[in-house]
Symmetry: C2
Subunit: 335 residues, 2 copies
């Protein structure tokens, strides 16, 4: 019996059934249903560095929706909010290696980091050269002893796009890895939740949020934020999100930023565009020039209402790679 | 003070502020902020039939997100769930006419139909040839005396894509209009809501839906459906939506269908792909062949949770037009 307001069958089979739908809707991809891996159908691509990512499900279109020309060669899907296992990652890594090596793009969560590390070691033993970039862009997390560092959130989309473009252009493993590291070093994010999502297998919201409150600094699995505040106008929310980002890294000067306003799953596009306007206003006031933008729901947290803002410092090279053609289910231009 | 779980400022300014964001995020469009019209920057395009649509806001990305090469020349935005006024439509019609005439694509709601009719008459008086196609694909509405016919819902996206492609290829006004009519004649839709959206200026949900129920046959403004039923597995929901569609029109044979699973604003992509799998299963059982598919949130109802299914009978010509290049904020391929 369904007791959640979700379009699902058995809560235990949400991920595998959604993957069936992905495969049927996108014949240009190859889905290994048993191992929950989505491949670019042309992988391994001769002469190209392989790019692999993955993580818990529930963040769609990340990562599977970013598999295709100019972005990922493979994405490993864990259960909802659950890391993929090392064997999945190893299998994907071997499958996309064309002899030029493979880059792992990993969001900074202990389970993800461990699975990708183990897979990288095993792949190396079988002769596949693997490098790894751990994305940790969430400024909401204040470093403390015993924490495992910042979480990987919205910037992951930009790392996958830009590193994917570098690989597509035929750059070598060292260069592709360097590009991914530069993106991670120059990008910061923060998010806000208005409501909590519900993990299907749990059946109740991850956290309780009163009708009058929002959680500023939310994680994409509903991890607690920096503070719980009363609902505020979008203009104030934009400041709550951008001020800590600008306090953390200088985004003025240079070739401007890529500004990414991301919906967390339950927030409609009309609100995201309204938020983008507020973000643009705050950035203009702060002397930050927007070079490119992206508005939409690209890294979500089930049906959570809310959004995140990501800024990335760019340069000529990063902008060219951002503008380069991409053809995936969720991101597509220039082809 | 904000009392809704929305990323907005003053509820009265949601549409105009979202349009500011649209303009800033999409320099490839021209937004007439005062008249709330989004234009393709190259309009009027010499030798091309102009294609204009519009309607109440709250359904984003429809219609403004479909302005661009291969789709609409202009979209007129009303306030949330409120028809645009005749003057807006007239202005847009004149602006995109390059002497080859203009097609109006109108969803079948009395206010929309009236505004577009008045604008068409006034445009004709000033020498612009205008034709009109009223989209009425929602099988949830059972015809009764005194009703104004079926509502226009998901099929509108397909009419805009396919008629837009016909215009882009240089077909004349009569042919472009004919293509739009064929799409409307061969397409049917039905939707289901799990939750209600909230109109910002109203401040409370449009309808009440108990935690255990769903509304089958919902309209995109929260109009009542065919029946209120207990929540059911996605496999059953797919049958609830498709059975009335198949009972209304024969979709077997021919060149197959375009199957479109659409999110209503608050439902995440993972559920839409899961639903797509169920839709594909039901169609296979019914002997309906899927030629193309589209999965995502393209015509929404604010943050309503739920989805709609649209089927369109195709032929060689319609499939070629569907596959033709399109470059808009929300739909983009082949360019």
């Amino acid at each position: 019996m369904i007791t959640m307001k979700k379009l699902i069958n058995d809560p235990a089979h949400v991920v595998s059934e959604a993957l069936l739908g992905m495969a049927e809707a996108h014949p240009e991809l190859r889905v290994d249903q048993h191992n929950k891996i989505i491949y670019r159908v042309s992988a391994p691509v001769r002469g190209k560095v392989g790019v692999v990512s993955g993580g818990g499900s529930g963040h769609e279109p990340l990562h599977g929706g970013f598999v295709g020309v100019g972005m990922l060669d493979a994405a490993c899907a864990g259960e909802v909010f659950t890391s993929p296992v090392p064997d999945q990652v190893l299998r994907a890594t071997r499958a996309v290696d064309a002899g030029s090596g493979v880059l792992h793009i990993v969001k900074n969560y202990p389970g993800d980091v461990m699975s990708f590390e183990m897979a990288a070691e095993l792949a190396a033993e079988s002769g596949v050269e693997v490098t790894s970039v751990v994305v940790d862009d969430d400024v909401a997390v204040r470093e403390r002893p015993h924490t495992v560092g910042r979480r990987g959130v919205g910037l992951t989309v930009l790392v996958e796009k830009i590193a994917g473009a570098a690989a597509e252009r035929g750059r070598g493993l060292t260069e592709v890895t360097d590009v991914a590291r530069r993106v991670n070093a120059g990008g910061r994010s923060m998010g806000v939740a208005l409501t909590s999502g519900t993990v299907p297998a749990v059946g109740r919201p991850t956290f309780e949020l009163p009708e009058t409150d929002m959680e500023v600094g939310i994680g994409i699995h509903g991890e607690p934020g920096r503070e719980r505040l009363p609902l505020a106008p979008a203009s104030r929310v934009a400041e709550y999100l951008i001020d800590p980002i600008l306090a953390d890294l200088d985004f003025t000067g240079g070739d401007g930023v890529i500004a990414f306003v991301n919906g967390l799953g339950g927030t409609p596009l009309i609100e995201l565009y309204l938020m983008y306007h507020e973000v643009a206003r705050v950035l203009q006031r702060a002397g930050v020039r927007i070079a490119r933008s992206l508005v939409g729901s690209y890294i979500t947290s089930l049906e959570m209402a809310g959004c995140s803002v990501t800024l990335l410092r760019t340069d000529d090279d990063l902008l060219r790679l951002w503008d380069a053609p991409v053809r995936t289910p969720a991101l597509r231009w220039g082809l």
